[in-house]
């Protein structure tokens, strides 16, 4: 029984947490792709930047001597998201909009987003250095333990408070996004523009406004993902640069341009990663006595070594690109 709880803690909770981060990032990438038709490479750094904005705000609030029952980084998140959305709008205006106005190809915008990546990375390290920071220097990180009321189970199900908040927030964000896209005028306008940009223009949909809303949502969600990731682990300048590729993988696996696909793709990759590095021998141990003599359970039975955890996402990405480049959920993609 303890082995099963270990499995639950490692794979299920780990997968949900990782999947939530991936989903929040992938939604932004997929929305930007749907509306502006380019792969926004700087998204990972927009996440990191959002994390740092939240960190600065949290430090300011903590400096005022205020204390909350929830982590301060979480309390300041809405304000950080607003600031991050503003920065995202500014980046678009400064670097992408002029290229679009010139009628540049999507690839040019992709290269420009590499430039933006470097600028954000450079600026963050310029101001904050390369050291690792924690939101929990002044307050403790609460660990939640739930005892399982089954005989033989001594190990509790355990996760941290930020992890719980992350999953709840992701759920709220997904539901809110769903209602926005299906019920609101602007949300439907966004879907229309992603579906058929020329017809959207002909219908009189204010495409510039739709672009702005897209950046606001993508920037806000990126900030949320970055902050929650920083709350879960720690805040580093290269926090999200390493996960921008898995996030792209999630968006592509879900079919670029499809918001729901991106969310599903995020969770799929999150679980794939935790399951690939999980030592499955743990689950077989209880059956040790029932197995025939010649079959010995090796001490380590993980699909890949943990050094290769990140490559799991890339391998899935490459396989999906090969077998079904339009993503695994919807057949059609423009």
């Amino acid at each position: 029984m303890n082995d099963l709880i270990f499995f639950f803690n490692q794979v299920m909770i780990g997968g949900v947490v990782l999947g939530s981060i991936y989903a929040l990032g992938a939604v932004g990438i997929t929305l930007i792709f749907g509306i502006l038709r380019f792969a926004h490479f700087a998204h990972g750094d927009m996440m990191t930047m959002g994390g740092f904005v939240a960190f600065v705000l949290a430090t300011l609030v903590a400096g005022m001597g205020l204390a909350f029952p929830l982590p301060t980084g979480f309390i300041v998140l809405p304000f950080a998201m607003v600031i991050a959305a503003g920065i995202a709008l500014g980046i678009d205006k400064g670097f992408y909009a002029p290229l679009r106005a010139r009628g540049a190809r999507p690839v040019t915008l992709l290269i420009a987003s590499i430039g933006v990546t470097m600028m954000i990375q450079g600026l963050i390290r310029l101001f904050f250095g390369t050291s690792t920071r924690s939101f929990f220097d002044t307050e403790p990180k609460t660990l939640i333990r739930i005892d399982v009321p089954i005989e033989g189970a001594t190990r509790p199900i355990s996760f941290t408070e930020p992890q719980l908040l992350l999953v709840i927030l992701t759920l709220i964000a997904v539901v809110a996004l769903h209602f926005f896209l299906t019920r609101s005028r602007l949300g439907k306008g966004m879907r229309a523009m992603a579906d058929n940009p020329d017809l959207a223009k002909v219908s009189g949909i204010n495409t510039k406004q739709v672009v702005r809303v897209t950046w606001i949502i993508a920037g806000g969600l990126a900030c949320m993902a970055g902050t929650m990731l920083a709350l879960d682990v720690s805040l580093k300048p290269d926090l999200a640069f390493n996960i921008v590729l898995p996030i792209f993988a999630a968006a592509i696996v879900g079919g670029l341009g499809h918001a729901y696909g991106a969310i599903a793709g995020g969770f799929l990759l999150g679980f794939a990663e935790t399951m690939a590095v999980f030592n499955w021998a743990v689950l077989l141990r209880p059956f040790r006595d029932n197995l025939p003599e010649w079959l010995e359970i090796p001490s380590s039975l993980a699909l890949v070594q943990s050094e290769y955890k990140l490559t799991v996402a890339f391998i899935i990405l490459v396989v999906v690109l090969l077998v079904r480049p339009t993503g695994i959920f919807k057949g059609a993609s423009t």
Binding site: I114, M118, R125, E307, L317, L321
Partner: protein, 427 residues
């Protein structure tokens, strides 16, 4: 147009002379060796992107492969490995891999036995899994054994030039596989796919300690020309020995670049080059005229990869150390893109110019930005705000920011680069 070329390269020459005056000859020659190697890589990217319109964000992977190749070929033989059971175990691993490959091969042809649709998919996935398990069952003990008994497999002790060639060949092989996998994809998918494959390569090279020593790094890797120690043993004083040795190396690299430039230029103006540009500008029309678009694109991708592999190998032998963790996307992939875009994509001389120019700027910006920060720090401590901490790491990041700014500005105001592609309407 010609005046533009003269002005650009004269300016570059003046820059190099200025650097030599202020930073000394040994530093300048070192800078030039690396700059020319980077220019070769930029020319490789120019073949892929400028001529073929093929996106490659996996340059880092090609450079790493080239570096590994030259390390493996030119590093002295590790007798401890060859006298142990290591080669035998690696042989067994190879057999296991072959068995797996055969299994996968037949699984892909299972429809001939009447198994189709979902079942075929299941069989293929199962075959891959079994092949993977068979391979791992041999690979893991072999790796553990080699690391325990002899550290790693060591090199082959062959000439360095052979290592460079092998770097080109290995990169070509990887380029072929990458191209085969991803060339059918649209540009942005190709970008993600290539960067994903490069990251897989990076993770593998970093972690296969038995083959590459991973994070333990390999050094000293021999030089193709007499190195400073050799010159010193012949009686040269240290400074002169560095200049002579590096100048010898530089001559070799420049010769390579010149040959590459000549060959590419010939090919570019030949029917082959025209066809490539036709495919780049309108692959649908080129395809409907009976050109084998994917085949030609694969050729281009492989050719570009060869130059990247050789360039990566040159850099590794020059530095004399192979450190897989030193490869970062910013200074191995993205900077090449900056070189090509600023220099002029689609123009060989643009790639050459951009490669040398941007590399020099990149290297000079280190002392410059440090000086800037020292000055700012003095200013702020004079103002009573205290000194700026971590000047060194901050100034490094300042350069990353500036590089990003250069890309975005170039894209916006000079998308064709300093030496634009020459469009020959009569050609």
């Amino acid at each position: 147009m010609t005046t533009r070329y003269i002005a650009a390269f004269a300016g570059l020459f003046a820059l190099i002379v200025t650097v030599a005056v202020f930073m000394g000859t040994p530093f300048t020659v070192r800078l030039l060796v690396e700059a020319f190697a980077f220019a070769l890589i930029a020319m490789g990217l120019n073949i892929q992107w400028g001529f073929g319109g093929l996106f490659n964000f996996g340059i880092l992977g090609m450079m790493m492969v080239g570096g590994f190749a030259v390390t493996f070929v030119s590093f002295p033989v590790n007798m401890a490995f060859w006298e142990s059971d290591g080669p035998l175990m690696l042989g067994q691993t190879l057999i296991a891999a072959l068995i797996g490959a055969v299994l996968v091969f037949f699984a892909h042809r299972v429809q001939r036995f009447g198994i189709t649709g979902k079942w075929r998919g299941t069989v293929i996935v199962l075959a891959w899994f079994i092949a993977y398990v068979i391979f791992r069952s041999q690979m893991d003990p072999a790796a553990t054994y080699i690391i325990r008994e002899s550290g790693w497999v060591g090199g082959l002790g062959l000439p360095v030039i052979l290592g460079w060639a092998f770097g080109g060949v290995l990169a070509a092989g990887i380029g072929y596989l990458v191209g085969k996998v991803s060339l059918g994809l649209r540009a942005d998918y190709l970008a993600i796919a290539t960067i994903g494959i490069a990251e897989i390569l990076r993770a593998v090279i970093k972690n296969v300690e038995w083959l590459t020593r991973g994070t333990l790094t390999v050094s000293p890797i021999p030089w193709p020309v007499p190195n400073p120690q050799a010159w010193q043993s012949w009686g040269a004083d240290p400074t002169t020995s560095f200049i002579y040795a590096r100048a010898g190396y530089l001559a070799l690299v420049v010769a390579f670049v010149a040959v590459a430039l000549f060959l590419i230029h010939r090919a570019y103006n030949a029917p082959w080059g025209r066809m490539m540009r036709a495919i780049r500008d309108n692959y649908i029309a080129a395809g409907s005229m009976g050109k084998d678009v994917t085949g030609r694109q694969l050729e281009i991708f492989v050719f570009g990869s060869v130059l990247m592999g050789i360039g990566g190998a040159m850099l590794v032998s020059f530095v004399g150390i192979y450190d897989p963790s030193s490869y970062q996307p910013i200074n191995h992939t993205f900077i090449i893109w900056v070189m090509l875009i600023v220099g002029g994509s689609g123009n060989n001389f643009g790639a050459l110019f951009g490669g040398i120019f941007i590399y020099i700027i990149w290297m000079l910006s280190e002392p410059l930005s440090q000086a800037l920060f020292q000055w700012l720090s003095m200013f702020s401590s004079d103002m009573g705000w205290g000194r700026i901490p971590d000047i060194e790491s901050r100034s490094v990041q300042m350069r990353v920011f500036v590089l990003g700014l250069v890309i975005t500005i170039a894209l916006r105001f000079a998308p064709k680069g300093i030496l634009p592609e020459r469009v020959n309407r009569n050609g």
